[in-house]
């Protein structure tokens, strides 16, 4: 719907403004580069409506958020490498049992320590040197192991023999000839380059440098990424970084000069790779690999680190690489913006990349940071700015100018061009006094770095204008505070308050009267100030609370509670109400939450249908405290009869059995039919014996056996019994048949 769309775009800009400005009032933001003025105006009520609108359009909110991200440019601070990085390195790279688990990890740890200036322990050196010498002398090491061992050797300078190195050189040269994948080339070329740096009189130069360059270049793709091998279609930015490092190595190891056109195409490839660079809001640039590649590396950190390594090594071999300096600065900001990483690999990537950026030949990024972004007017804090390289080293001679101060809350953005004065002892640029008109509040200070030596402009990247958020705090004066009870418009009783000090009022009012509270808030510069919170709370003796917002007009804050209208809100509860006033803001140094005393309210009785006050929360300590102990009542055993009764009945039960036996005798039972001849007799005896055995088994089953053994034994006896019984009974049957026929 058309109106729906219009509402949607309005919602978009409103929400963008609200999200960007962190403040619910009028604010301007000037975007220096494009001279765009984006006006955001929003008020409390509109924000509520916006939220409801957003809730209704679920898809819309997602788009709104995305648009917000693209419209506003957040300001951020980047700090160079500091002591916290050093202590993190010591913690993360602690070797297990005196040695590192692999030469790759050893290299990462040692390189990080070297860049950060941390001393290596001698026992670690010995252990690692042993592994290095082992790896270098072993015949089964492939070019990857040799590469890592040589890297560590370069840092530790272990004692290696010349013969070992010469042997390795020939193996690596063969590896270069036989290489098919990017990683093979990377390890072999890297190894040869390291040997060249570590020992002087060796011949590591490559004959067919042009050919090698072409075969590596064949793995490149049109979008700037590189593939790992010709038969693997996976490509990644990480591989591109490795490729550039390898290519620069080949150029350095070339025996004869390389075709200039080839180098020119490689430079174009780097520039093409930089087309795929991505950006965060705070001005950091990074590369990202969308999918996990062959070596398992993923994420922007490893990809960006690889590209930075490749770029800086390639730039060191050839002049005039055309990368814009804001991208280099953006890459530096990306690495600094991580802060202190949590695991060793990330820390290595960060420190290694920053050390490459520190000394690169394209442009060295300079970082502007503020040691303190909260300045207090009361303690007359001076604005201090530090400019250094990414590793914290001293920058070339330059001057820092404060160009503009943007404030949220007033319409002007003053254009200043004030130069900060440099203190060489602390290497800090200072502003002795804050610019005129900087009252308490949130500001964005825009600085510009101007290099003293014009030659440095090509070497260093300063980044134009750097915007930094600054909070200026101060003491807010609370004046002329008074509270009054009004009858109609006539003041009945008025008391002066001492804010923010202690007060103890004892007022009383009935439902026909009003309570009026007023005070003035002034900033240190005498301007009106609207705090984030100005709340009046009335709490009944039963615990029911009511909170009211104190409205203002300019400097004057006042609130009138008309009890006639509030009777229902107060649930008709009469009695003593404690009064509390809260005035607070982030930039107000003397925010307070003061109990002012109490007021005795006399409200009419509640009608029958009135709403009940909400139940008060149970004291959390009681609610979650221990409950009454339950004594477990075990199941009472059933009442059993006395033993005499049981025995009596046992005897009684046997009586019918005896009667049965007596009856049998009376009937004249005889064993005449019992077979007399031996074999049938034994079978008959066995038959009866078998039945007796089964009955005995049942008794045992009842007494102690379990069902399974019983069934097993029963099976055995049963088969026996069946056989025997069959013989006996068939013998008897034939005997009686003979008798019948006879």
């Amino acid at each position: 719907m058309l109106s729906g769309r219009r509402l949607f775009t309005v919602a978009l800009t409103l929400s963008a403004g609200v999200a960007c400005s962190n403040d619910l009032e009028n604010s301007y933001i000037f975007d220096g580069r494009s001279n765009r003025k984006i006006l955001f105006r929003s008020q409390f009520i509109e924000f509520d409506q916006l939220i409801e609108f957003g809730m209704a359009m679920k898809v819309g909110i997602v788009v709104v958020l995305l648009a917000v991200a693209s419209i506003c440019e957040a300001v951020a601070i980047f700090h160079p490498i500091s002591e916290s990085h050093r202590s993190a390195a010591l913690e993360l790279f602690s070797p297990v049992a005196g040695s590192f688990s692999s030469l790759e990890e050893a290299y990462e740890a040692l390189r990080t320590f070297e860049v950060l200036g941390i001393e290596k322990k001698p026992d670690i050196k010995d252990h690692t040197c042993n592994s290095v010498v082992d790896a270098l002398s072993s015949m089964s090491s492939n070019s990857r192991d040799l590469y890592h061992a040589l890297r560590v050797n370069g840092l530790l300078k272990c004692k290696t023999s010349k013969e070992a190195l010469t042997g390795i050189i020939s193996r690596l040269k063969d590896a270069v000839k036989d290489s098919t994948s990017l990683l093979d080339y990377y390890h072999a070329i890297g190894g040869l380059l390291l040997i060249k740096d570590q020992s002087s009189e060796v011949d590591v130069l490559l004959e067919n440098a042009d050919g090698i360059l072409r075969s590596i270049k064949a793995l490149s793709q049109s979008d700037g990424r590189w593939r790992y091998s010709s038969n693997n279609p996976e490509s990644s930015t990480y591989a591109a970084g490795l490729a550039f490092e390898t290519l620069s190595g080949v150029i350095q190891l070339a025996a004869s000069a390389i075709d200039e056109n080839l180098i020119g195409t490689l430079k174009k490839d780097i520039v093409k790779l930089f087309d795929s660079i991505e950006k965060y809001d705070d001005g950091s640039y990074y590369f990202d690999d969308k999918h996990i590649d062959v070596s398992g590396h993923q994420g922007p950190l490893s990809a960006t680190a690889a590209v930075v390594r490749g770029l800086t090594t390639f730039a060191s071999t050839s002049e005039s690489l055309n990368i814009p300096e804001d991208k280099i600065l953006g890459l530096a900001r990306f690495f600094l913006g991580i802060g202190v990483p949590g695991n060793s690999k990330d820390l290595y990537y960060q420190i290694d990349s920053l050390s490459h950026l520190e000394n690169n030949r394209v442009s060295v990024p300079l970082v502007l940071s503020l040691p303190a972004t909260v300045l207090s007017l009361t303690s007359k804090d001076k604005l201090k700015v530090k400019v250094s390289t990414v590793l914290g080293s001293i920058a070339p001679p330059l001057s820092v100018k404060l160009m503009q101060v943007f404030s949220s809350g007033s319409k002007d953005a003053s254009v200043l061009k004030q130069e900060l004065h440099f203190d060489p002892k602390e290497a800090i640029h200072m502003l002795d006094a804050l610019p005129e008109g900087v009252d308490i509040g949130k500001y964005v200070f825009a600085f510009e770095i101007v290099l003293s030596d014009p030659e440095d402009k090509r070497k260093f990247a300063t980044g134009g204008r750097t915007k930094v958020p600054v909070h200026v705090t101060g003491v807010v004066k609370v004046d002329d505070a008074k509270v009054a009870v009004l009858e109609g418009d006539i003041v009945e009783s008025e008391k002066k308050l001492d804010l923010p000090g202690k007060n103890d009022l004892a007022l009383s009012a009935n439902h026909l009267q009003k309570l009026h509270l007023s005070f003035l808030l002034t900033t240190p510069f005498g301007k009106p100030f609207k705090p984030h919170q100005a709340l009046l709370k009335l709490r009944h003796e039963t615990g029911v609370e009511h909170i009211f917002v104190v409205e203002n007009s300019g400097r004057h804050f006042e609130i009138t509670l008309d009890f006639l209208g509030l009777v229902e809100k107060f649930f008709y509860l009469s009695g003593q109400y404690d009064i509390e006033l809260t005035v607070g803001d982030a930039v107000m140094e003397n925010s307070f939450l003061q109990p002012l005393g109490s007021i005795e309210l006399d409200l009419p009785k509640a009608p029958e249908k009135a709403t009940q006050p909400p139940p008060q929360a149970v004291n959390p300590y009681l609610r979650y405290g221990p409950k009454a102990e339950i004594a477990h009542i075990f199941r009472a055993p059933e009442k059993r009869p006395p033993q005499e009764v049981s025995f009596a009945f046992l005897g009684l039960v046997l009586v019918p059995f005896l009667a049965f036996l007596v009856g049998l005798l009376r009937l004249g039972v005889n064993l005449k039919n019992f077979p007399t001849s031996t074999i049938p007799a034994t079978f008959a005896i066995l038959f009866h014996g078998g039945i007796a055995a089964v009955l005995l088994l049942y008794v045992l089953f009842w007494l102690k056996l379990d069902l399974f053994t019983t069934l097993k034994t029963l099976g055995l006896i049963g088969t026996f019994l069946m056989f025997v019984g069959h013989r006996t009974l068939s013998h008897l049957a034939s005997a009686s048949a003979k008798l019948k026929s006879a």
């Binding site: 059993r640 049981s646 009945f649 039960v653 019918p656 009856g663 004249g668 039972v669 039945i691």
Partner: protein
């Protein structure tokens, strides 16, 4: 003068005729009848015990009573099959019926022993 036939005299006469008829049954059937009576009496005594002391444990009571009742039932079946005057089971040798009786009793008592607890 002929005395009018009272119910008491009729009962006596019935009883006497039953007795004389019963004594004509073969001995083996009488043995089986005796066995049935024995089993039933045992069951009755168990029920009386339960009535006095309560039904805990109920499974034992059930197994006791059911063993008596079950064996009585099986004895009745045996009597039916063994009775020569019963034309239905003319071709069934009595030894076969006895073998069935023994087998069924053994199975019944296994179950009873299991349930006795």
């Amino acid at each position: 003068m002929v005395k009018p036939a009272t119910t008491k005299d009729d009962a006596h006469a019935l009883f006497h005729s039953l007795r004389s008829a019963y004594s004509a049954t073969p001995t083996n059937l009488k043995i089986i009848d005796l066995y049935v009576v024995f089993a039933v009496f045992t069951a009755l005594i168990q029920v009386a015990y339960m009535a006095i002391v309560g039904s805990f444990p109920f499974n034992s009571f059930l197994s006791g009573v059911l063993s008596c009742v079950g064996t009585a039932v099986l004895a009745v079946c045996l009597r039916i099959q063994v009775n020569k005057e019963n034309k239905e089971f003319k071709d069934l040798p009595p030894e076969r019926a006895f073998a069935d009786f023994v087998l069924c009793n053994l199975v019944l008592h296994l179950v009873i022993m299991n349930f006795l607890g």
